[in-house]
Point group: C2
Chain length 169, copies 2
């Protein structure tokens, strides 16, 4: 069954006991979590983020470079002052290169110039080493001209086999 | 207290009962949820997404245009075949314009050419109408050359005051 057909029933169970309809738009605890889209990652439960507390940005890898638009909106319009970057063990971003993925996409649609041009424009931002990727993302944010200077930036790894986090930076 | 100081204790409570350390990398139910970074949005509980089931992409607004890199990785390397876009009531993206935010950033650091140049390069992808933004994001994905042709794309609105979702497309 298509997944979207299950949303109404599953959501109805959530809504039936929902009692947090008056939370404010700005995150109460003024922080951002950046993490991976990975199916084994679930920031709210794994970090104990309560509804209304934090902005959560997720993309392939939990890559800071891909989050700047969201971070500027979060900091300048909604008052966040702290950023925590979480990458995780077993991440798919460790398993391919941009060059390889471009070939996969082109091979699936041979001779399609529109597809080839579109995929050649994308840097997929993969990484080769987990700890180093966390460190370089923290540094990237600390040095970025659009991230507020007084931002506390930390970097972490979540272990998908144990459910445990450890701080890297 | 800085939020990151609470992560170890909160995570320890999660890890103490963690028993899903053998989940596979590819999402079991082969779908992607794209939604907003908003602090009142929590896709896992609100949609009943179980750990291991789905990729979750989050950015300011839940904007599809900002998710293409992640979607290509998800579809081509990890087998997802369905995308659900969720925007929500009370979204901050309805409350500003790119032009306004660029002024906010420049006014905070007057005369800084590096900041001005960096912020002028960013389209903040705000939207003026909630239902229309969902429809146009669904259309954007259906027509995008790098999104697989057989992808089932649906569009939804989550109501932050009631906890309920409703399908738009």
């Amino acid at each position: 069954m298509a997944a979207h057909l299950e949303f109404p029933k599953r959501n109805a169970a959530y809504a039936a006991t929902f009692d947090k309809g008056d939370l404010a738009l700005p995150p109460a605890k003024k922080y951002i979590v950046i993490t991976c889209m990975d199916a084994r990652v679930e920031p709210a439960s794994q970090l104990g983020i309560e509804l209304g507390d934090a902005h959560v940005i997720r993309n392939a890898g939990g890559v800071a470079q891909d989050a700047i638009r969201s971070i500027v909106i979060s900091q300048r319009l909604l008052g966040t002052r702290e950023i925590a970057v979480f990458h995780h063990t077993g991440c798919g971003m460790l398993l391919f290169t941009t060059e390889h993925l471009r070939e996969v996409v082109k091979d699936a649609d041979p001779g399609n110039a529109v597809v080839a041009e579109a995929v050649d424009k994308i840097d997929f931002l993969e990484f080769g080493h987990l700890q180093e990727s966390v460190k370089s993302d923290v540094k990237f944010l600390q040095e970025h001209p659009l991230v507020l200077k007084d931002t506390k930036v930390t970097g972490w790894i979540y272990d998908v086999t144990t459910g445990k986090v450890s701080q890297v930076v």
